[in-house]
Structure formats: C-alpha cells, structure tokens
C-alpha cells in the first residue's frame, strides 16, 4: 500500500500548494520486486525521486569470500534470476582468466547458445511487463507463453528451469541432450513470428505510445555519465556492445547486428529489446549450425570434475578427484582480474582478487541493474508525472535481486 504524508503547506501568490512525500513500495506490483521509491510531489508533478534499495540484500560478495569457486556458481544464479547463464558465464570467464585456461570450443558454443537463450528470456519478461505496468495486461501473457519455451529448453539442457548453474570453470556441466538441436531450431523458427505479434499488438497502440514516446528521455551524454549500459545505453544512441567491441568466447565468429536507437525514451528502450531478441535468435541459429564436436569440459583433472560417469563408477582415482574437488575445491593462482560481459541488462563485471587459495579473497559484482537504476535518482530525465515514473522504472528493466546483490 502507498501512504501519503503532507509535508508542509506553502502560501504563494495567494494560491496554496502542497508538497507531498509519496512512498511507493517496497511491496508494489510496478516496482518489479522490493524496491521503495520516495517521491517528492508537487501536485501530480514529481520533483524528486529517491530510490531506497537493500531489501533483498543477501551479501553475495561476503558469502563468496567463504565459498569455493565451484560453490559460487549457485550464488551468481541468484543475481539476475531471469538469465542465470550469463551470470554464470561472467564468473566462469573471470576464474578461467585467473587460471589461464580456456574452455573447449564446443563448450564455448554451448555457453553462447545458453546465454542468448537467457537474453531472450530476460528481454521477453520486460517486453511484456512494461505494457502491463502501463495497463495492457495481454502482452505479458503472450511473452510468458514464449518464455515457457525457453524454460523448457533450459530444463532439457540441465534439469533446472530457473537457477541453472550450468556453467563450470573450464566448460559446462554436461553435454547437450539428444534431440536438443531440433527443439531449439523449432523454437528459432517460431519466435520471430511471435515478435511480429507483439509489435502488432502493442507497438502502435496509441495509449502505449503516448505513455512511452518522449517520456523519460536520457541523452547520450547523460547516459554515459550515469553509467547506463546494455539496451538502456544503446536506446540513447551510444553504439557500444561488448559482444562486438571486446569479444569474448566465440562472439567474434558470429554475425549479428548491434541495435542502436536514437531517442533514448521509454519506447526506444522497449523496442530496442525486441530487436535485440531477433538478433539473439540469429546468434542461436548460427551456434546450432556451427556447433563443433569434441569435449564440453576442459581436460584438466585439477580443475574439472570427471565427466564420464562410467569411469567414475569403476576408477578409484577418478572418485578421489571428484571428492577432492567437491570437498576442498581447487586452488587459483594469486592475482586480480576484472572480466565483464554483455549481460541482458548491460555490463556485468566480476572483479576477483585471488590470494592463491581455494576461495576468492574479494569478489566484486558490477551489477548492471544497480547502476541503471540510478537513472531514476534526482531529476536525470524529463519525467514529469507520477505515471511517467512507472514507465521509466519499467523501461529501465531493473532486477532487484541484482540491484541488491
């Protein structure tokens, strides 16, 4: 529930105005989680926004200092829970860089495939949720239907629908199942038609347009100054995508476009995501076509879990290797590394300092949602009305679990 506090009454030019402090959240359907906004209002006009975060703070970084590297994967799942594979990937890349290893080619393809599936899953939610915040319920039901297909694919790969923990240091947990290629190809065939449906349904809807076009405009300079990244930055006209500019894994072999829009308003941030999903579908198709054979896990007994279950059953040494990795983890050479990837929400970075032991000495998560949410702070944009704040918040697409870490 929201409650209203009247701060003071001002007598100006014979007219009485009231400055009202409005508390939005932390339990409110349009705050996408437990986010609390304190809004200073003058009538219907919002003069200042102050987000209060931390209701979901779990101390991921502190916990990580006490976990072994393999144990941290489930923690990263819970950052941006709409797309765990990309969190897993960022962390795995950071540790692999410290170890000086690289995952086998097949694992890299599988990882990119899952990460792009996750991008579709994350974007589908916001593509449906922003219209829902603005009163158009239907789109969300459609996008959820498509999201279910992504969930089914993830379940097929690793058994989990949401918190996948599919990546491992040095590869992925298990190989792609039989029949997956056909399923994912079918998915890639269906999805673009559904995007056209969304656009027909909502992209030219007059109410939706008037609520989002020209609302919450962030200029390119402001966006960079505020540290926005991902679709939020590209919607403001800054052409920066780490998949192209600082390629990791096998992105440099793939052909995809970086979607850049000009206006930087809520509508552009929304439509930018639909177009990005189209590119993700293209990337997935290319991954499926070019998927090489070979190992899905690096051949390095000090780091990688034994993958052959038949050998595990009869070989004592393999058993010991499995036990030691599970119980004690593996040592990572001392050093520090910052690795960032283009997560669905923006730049997801992991800064890890290792002291040579099995646990990181410091792990810092550069969470994109945390930084993106700052665009609400103060008067960064041209939001005027309370209703614009809701559109702005929805279009920034923050995941509060990632904001609060």
């Amino acid at each position: 529930m929201t409650d209203v506090t009247v701060l003071n009454k001002k007598e100006e030019f014979g007219r009485s105005t009231q400055e009202v402090l409005l508390n939005l959240g932390p339990q409110h359907p349009s705050t996408h989680g437990v986010l609390r906004l304190i809004l200073e209002m003058e009538g219907e006009i919002v003069t200042r926004v102050d987000p209060f975060i931390g209701y979901l703070h779990r101390g991921t970084e502190k916990l990580a200092e006490n976990f072994t590297y393999t144990q941290i994967f489930p923690l990263t799942d819970r950052l941006d829970y709409l797309c765990p594979p990309s969190n897993n990937l960022a962390f795995a890349l950071a540790v692999e860089k410290l170890l000086g290893i690289e995952a086998p080619e097949r694992a890299q393809y599988i990882r990119v495939l899952t990460v792009e599936l996750a991008r579709i899953s994350g974007h589908l939610l916001i593509v449906g949720a922003l219209p829902m915040d603005l009163g158009a319920m239907t789109t969300l039901l459609y996008t959820m239907r498509e999201r279910e297909m992504v969930m089914d694919l993830m379940e097929m790969i690793c058994g989990a629908r949401m918190h996948t923990s599919y990546c491992r240091v040095g590869g992925v947990r298990e190989d792609l199942p039989e029949g997956f290629t056909e399923r994912v190809s079918e998915f890639c065939r269906i999805l673009p038609k559904r995007f056209a449906d969304y656009e027909r349904l909502i992209a030219r809807n007059r109410i939706f347009l008037s609520r989002t076009k020209g609302v919450g405009v962030i200029s390119a300079e402001d966006a960079i100054d505020l540290g926005l990244s991902g679709p939020n930055l590209r919607a403001s006209g800054v052409d920066w995508d780490m998949r192209r500019d600082n390629p990791y894994e096998i992105y440099d072999r793939l052909d995809f476009n970086v979607i850049v829009r000009e206006n930087g308003d809520c509508y552009d941030r929304w439509i930018c995501r639909i177009d990005e999903m189209r590119e993700s579908v293209r990337i997935i198709e290319q991954c499926v076509d070019a998927m090489p054979g070979g190992r899905f896990m690096i051949d390095m007994p000090t780091v990688a879990f034994p993958v052959d279950k038949n050998v595990l059953r009869c070989s004592m040494e393999t058993h010991i290797q499995h036990f030691e990795l599970s119980a004690f983890g593996f040592k990572v050479p001392a050093g520090e590394v910052y690795v960032s990837i283009e997560a669905p929400k923006g730049e997801l970075g992991f800064y890890i300092i290792s002291d040579g032991s099995e646990k990181p000495c410091r792990m810092k998560v550069r969470a994109p949602s945390f930084v993106n949410l700052q665009a609400l702070l103060g008067r960064a944009t041209n939001m005027n009305y309370l209703a614009d704040v809701i559109a702005m918040l929805g279009s920034l697409d923050p995941v509060i679990a990632e904001v609060d870490k």
Binding site: H57, G335, E336, V337, Y338, I353, R362, K364, F370, Q374
Partner: protein, 174 residues
C-alpha cells in the same frame, strides 16, 4: 589495452606521483594517493587521447591485517577506444578518499555502497549514507574482521558475541 602509450602519457603529466601498478592479466593498473584521485580521474576522462568516459565500477578492498588496509579500486572504460584501466588508491587511517561524483555522476551509488560495506568515507560526496544496510546498522559488513554471520543481537541469535573492542567499529565514522 592502453599499453605503453598510456603509461607514458600518465608519466608525462603526473611524473612520479602516479605509480605504475603493472599489467595484471592485461589490464593496466595505476596506484595513486587519495589526494590525486580526482585530478587523475578528470585527466583520464578529459584527455582527448585517452577518453575514459565510462566509469564501470568502484569497489572497496580490505587488505586486513596490513597497515592502511582499505583500498578503493576504480575500473574505467573508454567507449571510443575500447580500453580499460584500473586505478587503485590506498586510503589512510581513518579511511578517507575524495569523491569522484563531480567527474562521473554514476559514482554516487558506487561510493555509497563502498561506504556502506567498508566504511570508507568519500569526502565531498553529496549524499553519503548507507545504501544496502539500514541506517542503525553498526559496523561494516564486508570488512575481513566482520564475522560472516554478523554479531549477536535480538534479531540474530546465531551471530558471534561482540568483543570489547570489535575492530570493525573503529575508524571511518563521519
């Protein structure tokens, strides 16, 4: 990324006041004293040949039990040149570092988070208060001497007993 050219430029502009921290895993690192942080960041941002216009991240690091244990690490990125650079700044005791909010607005929440977790005070920050923990919370949870399960109180029966001089509580108070 950056490479020798970047080192020369910094050497030329700042002389020995900014120390070279090497290239750990390919990222150029500079070590700087707190009083130079803002000037260095402004230079990185404005210099037409560097153009580190994007502040990726600010984070605190606790080197307990060393002297001057708290450190602030900045990660900068240049969207134009696709470079990254790292700046490290050891804060003294009590830990104080000037704020770079005047250089990048995005530093605001990063610095609040670092203050909240490590108790590093960013001088000149417009609104330095806790961001994740509640206002009445005592101590700085990410410091190495702060127990993982927190201190025992009415809400936290499984926490550690608070000793007479819990080191987390000293220093860094505003």
């Amino acid at each position: 990324m950056g490479g020798p050219n970047l080192r020369e430029r910094i050497e030329h502009r700042f002389g020995g006041r900014v120390r070279d921290g090497g290239l750990p895993h390919g990222m150029q690192t500079f070590l700087v004293d707190p009083d130079l942080v803002v000037e260095l960041c402004q230079f990185f941002k404005d210099d037409p040949e560097l153009r580190f216009d994007f502040l990726s991240d600010i984070c605190g690091v606790d080197h307990y039990p060393e002297e001057d244990r708290l450190e602030v690490v900045y990660h900068l990125y240049s969207i134009a040149f696709k470079w990254r650079v790292r700046i490290k700044c050891r804060s003294g005791d009590p830990p104080k570092v000037p704020s770079v909010v005047g250089v990048w607005r995005t530093a605001n929440w990063h610095e609040r988070e670092t203050y909240d977790m490590y108790g590093i005070v960013f001088e000149g920050h417009p609104d330095l208060r806790r961001i994740y923990m509640w206002d009445e919370f005592e101590g700085y949870p990410m410091r190495k001497d702060f127990p993982l399960r927190g201190y025992k109180d009415a809400y936290n029966p499984f926490g550690e007993e608070r000793t007479a001089a819990a080191p987390s509580d000293t220093g860094g108070e505003r």
